[in-house]
Symmetry: C2
Amino acid sequence: MAERTYTVAIAGATGVVGTTVRQILEERAFPVGELRLLASERSRGAQLAFRGQDLTVETLGDDSFAGVDLAFFAAGGAASREYAPRAVAAGATVIDKSSVFRQDPAVPLVVPEVNADALEDHAGLIATPNCSTIQMVVALKPIYDAVGIRRVVVSTYQSVSGAGKRAVDALEHQAAQVVEGRPVEPEHFPYQIAFNLLPHIDSFLPSGYTREEQKMVDETQKIFADPALAVAATCVRVPVYGAHSEAVSVETKEKLTAAQARELLRRASGVEVVDDPGTLAYPTPLAAEGRDPVYVGRIREDETVANGLVMWVVADNLRKGAALNAVQIAEELARRGALGRRQRMLY
Amino acid sequence: MAERTYTVAIAGATGVVGTTVRQILEERAFPVGELRLLASERSRGAQLAFRGQDLTVETLGDDSFAGVDLAFFAAGGAASREYAPRAVAAGATVIDKSSVFRQDPAVPLVVPEVNADALEDHAGLIATPNCSTIQMVVALKPIYDAVGIRRVVVSTYQSVSGAGKRAVDALEHQAAQVVEGRPVEPEHFPYQIAFNLLPHIDSFLPSGYTREEQKMVDETQKIFADPALAVAATCVRVPVYGAHSEAVSVETKEKLTAAQARELLRRASGVEVVDDPGTLAYPTPLAAEGRDPVYVGRIREDETVANGLVMWVVADNLRKGAALNAVQIAEELARRGALGRRQRMLY
């Protein structure tokens, strides 16, 4: 019997996440029957390769989702808000990268290694978390399951690709301007990002936290279904291209030694431990770029609290932080026989 | 009556810190009578400007300190270990940038805004703390005095100039190699630093922490004379040239609101508050480079603990983190009439 195939759409196909979704669908041999590449009018007619064929980018519109089984949305919040409900209404299962629906109680927010079972309750739309949240919860999961977690203090070191293609271009241009001794134009970001840091990702809330920082709180609690799990975040943009890094301090409910944590993480799904100070083995964002695992290193005990652990967590924010997690959600849905055109419409 | 002047030596005069000491002595019109520039044999004969005159670099040796009132040491641990005691024996007051003597109970470890009174007990040698410690304790001081501090969790974002001139050259070379599409040679650092991060500064200890991280613990406790002050640090090298940044989470003994903390910091010596999310005002390392203050921003409450505050602390690591702090120590000694050739010898 031939394997079931799916008609798949990518909304935002020309962006950095959409591009990576297309690559990962091919790499992982996801059973795509037909692939529809959707983007804004500006990109219409562009040719993008998939499994050796050139596909033509179409304009994202009301009629884009007829016959679509599975739609990945990575075209920004406004496009998700407008078109994701229409795709669901047309019968597609939508996996949405935007933050628009993440806190909707009817929408599962899923990292397959952590809460795949939340997919059982979906009503056509599944949200994939923010990049900075995904890699952290993958690393927290085995610890959470073993001894419980009370509180997490996290400082992020986030790459420019998390801010999209123009942010990547901005770092490239500015780095060249600095190297060549030319004046630097602070395009895209409010200040120069080359050889600089900005403690500012997404907009500021009245609390003084940024939306990016608040996402790490709200999303972590939703993914673990644990509103008592305390998270305090500082999110910082750094002049790195393709992977986010995080210094994560964890207060567990029961004691876990660094050796025990290392062993749990070694066996954990989606994690690769790189942690041997003797050989200077620790994760770096450059080494993580283009790779699938969440890399964890610098695992050590924090004796300034009763049950403290510190670790350094690095992952490619376009892969596990975005496109790979979305494709893994699709694979999990397919495995559960829950992917394909549906009759029921929520929106 | 003419102002008293001092015969001053700089050991390590050709390095990044020694160069900055020379500039700051001139900028601040420190009462230098004679300036002796000392370095390794390799640099002998080099000419360096001071107050419009070219001075010739001499080789650091046993006879370098005869007649010297004040010696700044910024030539690395080995040179401090060998020559700082000889300078003290020759009657000079030594201000040492290395980590060699910092934990010696007979040696005050001083940040003038925080513990200037520790200078009263010196016996010829005063240590200036590690760059990452200095800027943190300056920002913690007004909070500590107002409500007490139980615990600090800090993640650093440290510039390459903290690792010396060759580290700066390495980032410049590597950035040019990346921009020009050439292969990158990971000189100086164990891995590429351009467009990358290394969670590794100084060597690893058996605890899994680095010496840099342990310094932040030990030095903070010594400077506040408070061995119960808990500090957990993660130190990370970032591709930035001239200032260190730190995400600092503080648990105070009594409640302090963000507004109260901001007001205390505004009035604090050595601090400049840059904290207005509405106008995107926050400290960045590029803006701090070449400047004297410790910049503090992103001040907000952390409601995941009883009395929590978070802030973002940025300072030029060659100035306040090294040379400026050393010169400020000398100024404080001069103000106290405690600078000049001494008879008593400890070493």
